[in-house]
Amino acid sequence: MPRAPIKSMQNIIDQSVNTIRAAAERKVPLHICGGGSKEFYGNHIIGQNIDMLDITAYSGIVVYEPAELVITARTGTRLADLEAELHEHRQMLAFEPPHFGAAATLGGCIATGLSGPRRASAGAVRDSVLGVRMLDGKGDDLRFGGQVMKNVAGYDISRLMTGSMGTLGLLLEISLKVLPLPPVELTLSLQMKEADAIEKMNLWAGKPLPISATCFYNGALTLRLSGAEAAVRAAHTKLGGEEMAEGAAFWQSVREQTHIFFQPDKSLWRLSIKSTTPPLSLPGQQLVEWGGALRWLISNADVDAETVRAVTGAASGHATLFRAGEPSAARFHPLAPEMMNIHRRLKEQFDPMGILNPGRMYPGL
């Protein structure tokens, strides 16, 4: 990847500091812009005369040493470029983030905290985050965590920033743990009912099997095996099932929501629940991922938010209105009052003037 001169990168930071300070002074909300690929996700920013704070020019890899298993990159870096660079060294982002478009940036990936099919076996975005450099709502340039695997000095602000939707700070640089690409991947398909699939996925997750992704849809359980050739073959023999020829394309379609299940014109709910929960009875169609812990719901008839939230809540989980034609319901699951209190107080500390993506996550944050 071409590397921009350090000086112009510092200029971008200086400008962002000025933008934030000016906005704080005038109490003008700022909309932090990555690539806009996940613009559909979350709530609208609340306020008048919203200013844009575009971070896409702050891009490029800062340090990447494959033998250290760590990459540090600027948040405007396109996710596709970052993954291409890792690929060249036969490494990957373990959490397999969805891009939802070519413009997706690292900043948007970390700020939304969304992980893909490998999540149940290799961890979420936050599990790979090692360190951040950020500007808080006062424009202070701060670094937390670091570029090493283990670091317990100070509170874990890096992971706190992950998934905070840009409401606590402008992310500038991120250090991530990376993993080697598995030598072999193989996709299997088994015909069964949803209840059996959920049972099987949980059972197999408790065995030492190299399963790296699972998906149930329309009577078929699809499994991905990853690892050494011999291990993958042995697991195939144990599990049975048909080998799927276009396995990689299948997982790509689940990850990027181009799979036939995801109909862009309908409301899409993301239900994150305890993996052993039996099939949820809700109107509409469902697709199951993450060993049963993630259920996607497409609803024809507008299923009401309260019902969805009650059903997921009862399954020790939460529901997010992931995509919606009309932003009718609040997108994110409501927080318990004492938790909301903690969130508000954290927001006040990181962004005292309330100018960073206000309302993007919850009103008042």
Partner: protein, 484 residues
Amino acid sequence: MHPLDLVTDLRTFLPLEAVLYESEDLKAYECDGLSAYRQMPMIVVLPRTEDEVIRILRICYTSKTPVVARGAGTGLSGGALPHATGILLSLAKLKQILEIDPVARTARVQPGVRNLAISEAAAPYGLYYAPDPSSQIACSIGGNVAENSGGVHCLKYGLTVHNILKLRVITMAGENLEIGSASLDSPGYDLLALMTGSEGMLGIVTEIIVKLTPSAEKAQVVMAAFDDICKAGNAVANVIGAGIIPAGMEMMDKIATRAVEEYVHAGYNLEAAAILLCESDGTVEEVADEIRRIDEIMKKSGAIEIKTSRDETERLRFWAGRKAAFPAAGRISPDYYCMDGTIPRKSLAHVLSGIERLSTEYGLRCMNVFHAGDGNLHPLILYDANQPGELEKTEEFGAKILGMCIEAGGTITGEHGVGIEKINQMCLQFSNGELKIFHAVKAVFDPEGLLNPGKAVPTLRRCAEHGAMHVHRGEEKFPELPRF
């Protein structure tokens, strides 16, 4: 509030033996695993239920009494060091495993449960709790959460933060927070990560849901000896460069190897400048494949001797040496001081040679054990506390090692925490702006500053006073040290 009034209040709902205030009873609690720091608490309380924890905290909150939590007291940074006018809150009696869900692969436990006890309880289901600190027979899961503890297998299986799903936390004001859930993520900010490693500064953990991992079918370890520490360091990089994430990857230098060999007879090569232990686990097929590749890489990297464990007994014997490093240090020296810096692995040779120079300069021996896979270095400085001035010299030596770790782009603590021990080094690693954020986070959870006061995050004033040593991120790096 007068101590005796406090005792009276506490005894309205706690039995006599759960409230200690006589000095002979308090003595056992005056230090944690870092015994160089000692302080008697005013009162020790031993609640048996969460409800008792809440009532204790409410009393302390109203009377503005400082509270220090304590698990098993194995911490190595003075995190559980008592407060002179405070209460030491021992969670040791909350030691029930409340539920094991073998299908969902989770365990719900109380904070006083020992780390190893969880794995023992999960074993009948073919599951275990992955993070395995060397202290796992003694340390509590609550302490693990508070320190974000790791173990020899954490490169592959993660630290505490990667292996817990949910916490119940009681704030200083006595409020109950449910953080995380039995599902894989939760709405809102990642408070689960924020609580993990917060060193008893933000709240008292009263219940934990941990993830359980399926036990591997097989594990095998390769022990490789090198005549040069750089070669050993390169071997580590070569293994990872080949796309292998070993289940464990540990290094020991010559002094460490000799000390443990004499003690446990693990079969280590005494001529080696460094020993590497590299473990593979997984399915039988996976392990066979990986061990073959590791063996090849060790050869190519110039190992002078390679042994592969042939059975479980031999595997455990190879590990016994590494696991006995601390007691072995205790055998060859009256006292030892364990450091915990983390560095990018490529700086290993540089940092080790720096440590060697400092060792000569201070006239103190130092043995190095190293979680080589993830760059976490544990230099053990050997000293004699009975020799006047030797502890001070040791601390100075240690501080310089941590300075080198920061300079190398690493951190002052990989897994043992800041506690009271590394409070000054925090001024080196973080700017005032960053420290202010830490104080702000503390204030969100504990505005009165009553939980574990004076630990983990230094005041800005302290850093200013510590100014002589205050260098930040290479602006003015240890000018007194030779460049190497």
